[in-house]
């Protein structure tokens, strides 16, 4: 039988067991000519092995400098309904929790104004509304705002902060990642919506070192929950894990990175002063092991993807910070960091790159943080040591030039 479909290549992605995005586009195409043209343009991309979108530069809605990504088809002659096909980034409820009525409201607004296609969620964390015309941007925002939604960040701005599920559903949460994220988001609305930074700035909050939102890899400012004090052991539950087939010596003790635990078949001992709180043992025996009682966060900075100077992981700058609402200490630190970055960065220089260029020493002094060994893997091995002017002895009466 001849295949009369207009999209023979994409049709092949309707097959197979994993849910098909092609089915989603086809579903939306039943109602929306925009989605139909998206499908047809995508088929052309599959045929030619090339994308067909141009960037626009449009930033969206009145009063805001971001939250919209402009897109235009480079073949409007073939696909007139996606001549303009802009994305809206809608700031997700923290932790990506929804009640269905909120999701239905989003759907109704998007059916009224856009393609009927979404990403739940985008890489930024936002709910992505995928594709609408320039004329619909403002009315769509108006309807979103009236329904209690707001746009997320884009461009040289604070991007939509995100957080792990935290105390919402996790016994390992050392901090209230959801409340911290929500509180920072509300505090820094202007920084999210009106880009005034040298480049993007991301904040991500994970409530323990398992780091479910990849804060250490993806955020200029990384907050990771941790604790002080001894891991609390329930020996009865440890024994129950052993009875249920967990090989505690092999799977727990031998894999502990600091070898700070012993197991004699009856009792688990932890030498807590050697523990680096990696979470492995707790991950394996959540019923038996609980974190120490004094909870707080480690603050790290500088992570980013490769552009321009290579990918970076975040660096420790505050080993332990108490995290209690309204999080003044954290907010003050963020403002100081952003000020130093804004004063000193070249355009499109991320915070980590600026520190690499100007030195951690200058950064720490500027934001008023004391140097501590927790910040480094090892002290320097090169002899190119710089001292501050006041640390140098000068002959009396002679001022520094």
């Amino acid at each position: 039988m001849a295949n009369n479909s207009e999209t023979p290549l994409l049709d092949q992605l309707e097959e197979g067991r994993w849910p098909s995005f092609v089915k989603e586009i086809k579903q939306a195409a039943q109602k929306k000519p925009m989605a139909e043209d998206l499908l047809r343009q995508l088929e052309l991309s599959y045929k030619e092995k090339i994308g067909h979108w141009k960037h626009g530069g449009i930033v969206g809605v009145k009063g805001y400098g971001g939250g919209v990504i402009g897109r235009y088809s480079d073949r409007p002659d073939l696909f007139p309904n996606v001549q303009a096909f802009h994305t809206l980034r809608v700031n997700h409820p923290t932790g990506w929790f929804y009640k269905t009525d909120a999701l239905r409201t989003l759907c109704d607004i998007w059916d009224k104004h856009g393609s009927g296609l979404t990403n739940l969620h985008g890489s930024t964390g936002d709910a992505i509304l995928l594709g609408t015309t320039t004329e619909h941007l403002q009315p769509c925002f108006d309807d979103l705002s009236n329904a209690g939604f707001d746009l997320g960040g884009s461009g040289s701005a604070l991007r939509t902060p995100s957080a792990c599920v935290g105390p919402g559903r996790c016994e390992w949460a050392c901090i209230d990642s959801l409340d911290i994220c929500n509180s920072l988001t509300l505090e820094f609305q202007d920084e999210i919506h009106r880009p005034m930074f040298p480049y993007k700035f991301k904040i991500k909050i994970s409530a323990c070192a398992n780091d479910c939102v990849a804060a250490i890899a993806r955020a200029d400012l990384t907050v990771i929950g941790t604790w002080k004090g001894n891991i609390r052991i329930d020996q009865k539950e440890v024994a129950a894990y052993a009875d249920s087939g967990l090989d505690i010596q092999k799977e727990v003790c031998n894999l502990c990175p600091t070898h700070c635990m012993t197991w004699n078949g009856k009792e688990l001992k932890i030498y807590d002063e050697d523990c680096t709180r990696c979470m492995h043992c707790i991950n394996l025996m959540p019923k038996a092991l609980r974190q120490g009682e004094e909870k707080g966060a480690t603050i790290l900075i500088g992570a980013k993807a490769p552009i321009v100077e290579g990918a970076l992981l975040s660096w420790v700058i505050v080993p332990f910070m108490k995290m209690e609402p309204p999080y003044e200490e954290l907010k003050d630190l963020i403002i100081k960091i952003q000020d130093w970055w804004s004063e000193n960065a070249r355009s499109r220089e991320r915070l980590g790159e600026l520190i690499k260029r100007m030195s951690m020493r200058k950064f720490l002094r500027a934001v008023g943080l004391p140097p501590v060994p927790q910040m480094i893997k090892a002290p320097r091995t090169n002899p190119y040591v710089f001292f501050w002017p006041e640390e140098i002895n000068r002959p009396e009466g002679k001022e520094e030039k």
Binding site: G95, W96, Y98, L130, N182, H193
Partner: protein, 353 residues
């Protein structure tokens, strides 16, 4: 005028009553079976989670279907994970099996928990990006069709996190994944000298280049790209649509492995290059699917329990990794960027294979 700067809807209004009353007071959790979690609070109350895979690109009709299901079994409460899975939250364990039945009837995969391959974090690709070197949704669909059983079962040594970014700007930040699928351009942007003068501001285009590879050609009112300096980010194309970067016969996919984000056991690690180039072969990218499958299978057969892909490679050595996977080692694997020398071997200790 509708209000601005209101921020997102308050997440507290979206929380299941059991979550609200046990917020921050969770005691422990269990994975009852793949895709099903039980979190128990100090109060003794429990919340159950059924985790389902999703293509991430969802129509409003599909979202309404998800809402209907959540209304039927979960009093309307659900959430999404950082890897695009849907989590149905319920307090009545008797409803779990019928919820799963309905989800499976509607072709939602159930899994993504524990030692599985969870959903693939990915970017927009040809669906919506302007500088993609490959599609995103298509390769993800093709890879997950092949690895489906790894999602619905927990048979791997540890978690395997796969991510895809359709160019090296990595808006999906794939650089710390167990397996990263990364679209790459291999040729520089090509200014159309007849269009640049009308469409582009030369100084802005020059300034847009992060590596100083774009020079102005004032005489001809166009720009010239230095092939030695360009690293294919497409920033110049973003501000100057008359210098496209895409090149169908050279764009493709590279594969990176061994990254991790979690601090459990070993410190977080970057992914490292293992396959510099595979061709774009839509609609099903067979070379990419085969490469990813091979790496997963070799890892599954050789790693110890709880060992992430990168931890296994660190233990056995990269020599062994290339031997076991049969992936050819080339000069592309040897770093020549900024901190390259830190990756060179500075000891006489190595393995023959």
């Amino acid at each position: 005028m509708p209000p601005t700067d209101i921020g997102p809807p308050d997440y507290k209004t979206m929380l299941h009553p059991v979550i609200k009353s046990n917020y921050g007071k969770w005691r422990y959790h269990e994975i009852l079976k793949p895709g099903v979690l039980k979190h128990v609070a100090e109060s003794g109350e429990a919340i159950y989670t059924v985790r389902a895979g999703s293509p991430r690109l969802l129509s409003t009709d599909r979202i309404r279907e998800i809402c209907d299901i959540a209304d039927k079994y979960c009093d309307g409460y659900l959430r999404f994970t950082s890897r695009n899975n849907i989590e149905f939250l319920l307090d009545d364990p008797r409803k779990i099996d019928s919820l799963i039945d309905e989800l499976e009837t509607k072709n939602y995969p159930i899994g993504g928990t524990g030692h599985s391959i969870s959903n693939v974090v990915h970017t927009q690709g040809w669906v919506h990006c302007h500088t993609p070197a490959t599609d995103a949704s298509g390769p993800v669909k093709a890879v997950m069709d092949e690895l489906y059983d790894y999602f619905t079962e927990m048979k791997l040594p540890a978690h395997v996190r796969i991510a895809l970014a359709c160019c090296l700007n990595m808006c999906g930040a794939v650089h710390c994944s167990d397996i990263a699928i990364l679209g790459i351009h291999r040729t520089v942007p090509k200014p159309d000298n007849s269009l640049v003068p009308n469409l582009c501001e030369i100084p802005t285009t020059v300034a847009s280049c992060p590596t100083g590879a774009v020079r102005g050609d004032m005489k001809n009112k166009t720009v010239i790209v230095d092939e030695d300096k360009c690293m294919y980010c497409g920033n110049c194309y973003t501000v100057c649509p008359a210098m496209p970067i895409a090149d169908p016969s050279n764009d493709g996919i590279s594969i990176w492995v061994g990254g991790k984000v979690s601090n459990a056991r070993s410190a977080p690690m970057f992914s490292k290059l293992v396959i510099p180039y595979l061709p774009n072969n839509p609609p099903r990218w067979p070379e990419v699917v085969q490469a990813v499958k091979n790496i997963v299978e070799v890892y599954a057969a050789n790693a110890r329990k709880h060992e992430r892909l990168g931890e296994w490679i660190e233990r056995v050595g990269w020599e062994r990794f290339f031997t076991l996977t049969g992936i050819p080692f080339t000069d592309k694997h040897i770093d020549d960027f900024d901190m390259a020398i830190e990756t060179f071997r500075t000891s006489a200790q190595f393995k023959w294979r």
